[in-house]
Symmetry: D2
Subunit: 275 residues, 4 copies
């Protein structure tokens, strides 16, 4: 069972929390604690040896902490996710394969596309695919339809697996720190469209990808993980894009694993990641 | 101040230890705890916010733990090291440069060589160099002379920076888990002499280096860190050796940093490393 | 169009070959040449700007070289492959996905398993799956049945994607340097069964995987590519295996790309790889 | 002996060049050729088996090519370099050590600083150090003094090893594509001052460094190599800077090796690098 805690820092927090656990007979098999001294902020991830009575433990820990504390006791059931896509398949294929063989750490409830291109691959894996087109609709209507579909599945996280629509602030607010995006660049370089074309023109030797939580500041949400890959003069645009896609797939897979295992905390638009 | 603890596992250890610290008014700014469930072994590294009264804290923590517990409260003075070398300069040069600019995390007391080749580079940095030749001496006499020189400096660690003599079990026992060696291979591949020649013949695409504590089982001590580097068909033997040396230098530098920062625990011929 | 040449080295080979191409009106857009001076062996890979008349070019180049020369002019149609599997899915899933989206650089003709476990995933992608069981058969009969199935597809390469049977020297001789295997270790370390168990016991900090051509010297064929991945004390056996599988998948994918793009030459049980 | 050629592309260039070499009795032991099809630009690097008569070979090759061709036959003597520094030692220390042990591929003629901080380390290695202060001088006078010092050594390349002055367009024009700089960022991210502070605030998980030729467009010259290094939430500013410095040192060392071995071509503000 995993316990994650974020709160204002102070003397004695580890003692208070671990005493609750010891009194309840839990053995701590792995623990990470970090204090951001500048922000006076406390973060902890604790793994205990058995799964038992999560709600009561959560309450008992909350009681010994200040009122601002966020405590989550996760008995580690699989997370439920909904995947949003457009036309590019590379991240989705990887997610479907991991889901199929139970190595994703989450269970894909459905895939929703604003184009039908990825319906076939999704259904090959026995996962429902919903086409929610944005065409000939106001943004409001589109997002309302999208929201309805999503809420029917009650997912823990939304994964934007090369989903090419910009979501409104209202929509994002409904899934605060629950939307994970893969950005086709090493942020903050090449933030705009066509980063690969820009990278080609600049003659860079490394390209990157960034997985981050979505906030209403486009491409500026808290970074979960970044990966880079070497390129060289022999890469034409198509090669850069191919290499970039492999890298995006790997970065998103890593970010999902970290989040689904409750290893990622957000504060002040940054993350604390206990790898 | 850093506190490291190793002992038999049990329920309540984190609570017991952190209560001692809370009562003494310390704030835990970073903590890593790991239990080896198979061995029922507890490891913790705790960083607290101030340096104060290390002996008393050590005693107080020891008192709440079982008698087998090893507790070390390290007020983080620089470690003192003695470096043993033969003829190859690459690791020594790196150590001397880091030492000169105070980024080593340790203070080089002296360099001891069984050949005079590295006297000049050592003295350029104002560090004493002692020539202790092994020639025309019994192993016993050689090691006794070596030991005398070393003990005069009371080092925390001995660094074998491409030191090409095999040390006796007795000598090693005098510095138990205090001797760090860099092995010119990705252990356990190519354990013998001339690993680069073997790697060339086998046509490998990656070569490695292993930094480990020295035990009397040659090249079989607990591994601290390993690094690899890509090679290809265009590498002749001299190129492999050059690439290998860069890699050895990096691996030893990393291992020293981990050890000097009290991040490495040894148990059952393996290490727990809190990076 | 790609032209690959291997022959005994001598003065004037590049001039002779490139003159043939210039006279035929080809522009060389990329060229790699390497001489193994110790073996006096010449290797070249030439990419020209158009696809035209491969047989005649092959003959024309062969004519200007010594009789031992091996010249192959590849108009770069997709290679055809047959994939052999047992029970583990990770490499096969990756191959099927890449095949489905045309990024494999080869076309999967069929998958043959000695167990039925991977039939479902294969058929989801519309690829034929043949069960050729080894049970209750002599090795000779098993391999003869396997051979019949394979020959029906006339593949350019056989991919052993975690195929856990040892093939006979005769079988291998029928597909000389046409069988690619992924070995679950950083060869030559941990060559036996259960490399992950061995790695765990030894406490290594890096694990590797090796993709190689199969020769009748088990696990000793020419290495195409190797990859490594970092691990640490927190990995139990299942974690090591999971990390190892991701690494195996990546290593095999890379090796296939190199081979399918005619970038790999073999000589003296080693490879020359023009990446 | 290394031969490098850059010119407008056309059919028959490899044949023409290699015929000159074959007629002169040279054996090509390694060759890389690349055509930028978009720019119709030809690049080749040829290694031949002996060192002989470079000027005549250079003339003979030039004669068979169009007038725009740039041909350089380099008998591979060590390059001569002058190193410019300010106060930070990490790149300089690495250069001095490599120079001392003859693994730099170049010979350091002198070090010039605009501050005296690095005089001591330089002189420990027996290399002349010149203090050319920029204080109380016009930029023109400062650069003129700098130029005089440099020209006395007739270097092949100037290395800016954390040299913190911006050079004028005129100065740079005097050393066209002969000045190598290390930039403390993964260009084009964080181009300004204090990239580490920006990286900390943004919470990035990777930081980079870029080695590039200096042109009068500040930080926008052709990129030679880039390296990245992983960081995490536990890094305070000093840790980021320390990690960044290790990375800068490695990137500059790699770039120098590539340039000194005549592996780098520049065209259209980008590089072709034959690694």
């Amino acid at each position: 069972m995993v316990i994650v805690i974020q709160c204002k820092d102070g003397v004695g927090l580890v003692a208070a929390i671990s005493s609750v656990l010891a009194n309840a007979g839990f053995n701590i098999v792995s623990m990470r604690e970090h204090v951001d001294l500048q922000e006076s902020r406390f973060f902890a991830r604790i793994v205990v040896d058995k799964i038992s009575d999560p709600q009561n433990i959560e309450m008992a820990i909350t009681k010994v902490l200040a009122p601002d504390a966020v405590v989550k006791v996760d008995p580690l059931p699989e997370k439920k996710i909904v995947v949003l896509v457009t036309k590019e398949h590379h991240c989705l294929s990887d997610i479907l394969t991991r889901n199929h063989f139970k190595t994703l750490g989450a269970s894909v409830q459905c895939v929703i596309g604003n184009h039908p291109d990825l319906m076939s691959i999704t259904e090959r894996f026995g996962i429902p695919f919903h086409l929610v087109s944005h065409e000939n609709k106001s943004k409001e209507n589109y997002e309302s339809e999208l929201m309805d579909k999503i809420l029917g599945y009650m997912p823990d996280y939304l994964i934007l697996a090369k989903f090419m629509r910009v979501l409104s602030a209202d929509f994002i607010a409904s899934f605060k720190l629950k939307i994970i995006n893969i950005h086709h660049s090493f942020l903050p370089a090449f933030t705009g469209a066509n980063p690969y074309r820009q990278a080609l023109k600049r003659g860079v030797k490394i390209i990157g990808a960034t997985a981050h939580f979505v906030t209403d500041d486009l491409d500026e949400g808290p970074i979960i993980t970044q990966k880079t890959i070497s390129v060289n003069h022999s890469f034409v645009l198509a090669d850069l894009i191919k290499a970039g896609r492999e890298n995006e797939t790997a970065a998103l897979a890593k970010a999902m694993q970290l989040v689904f295992e409750d290893r990622v905390f957000v504060y002040d638009n940054k993350t604390v990641v206990f790898e």
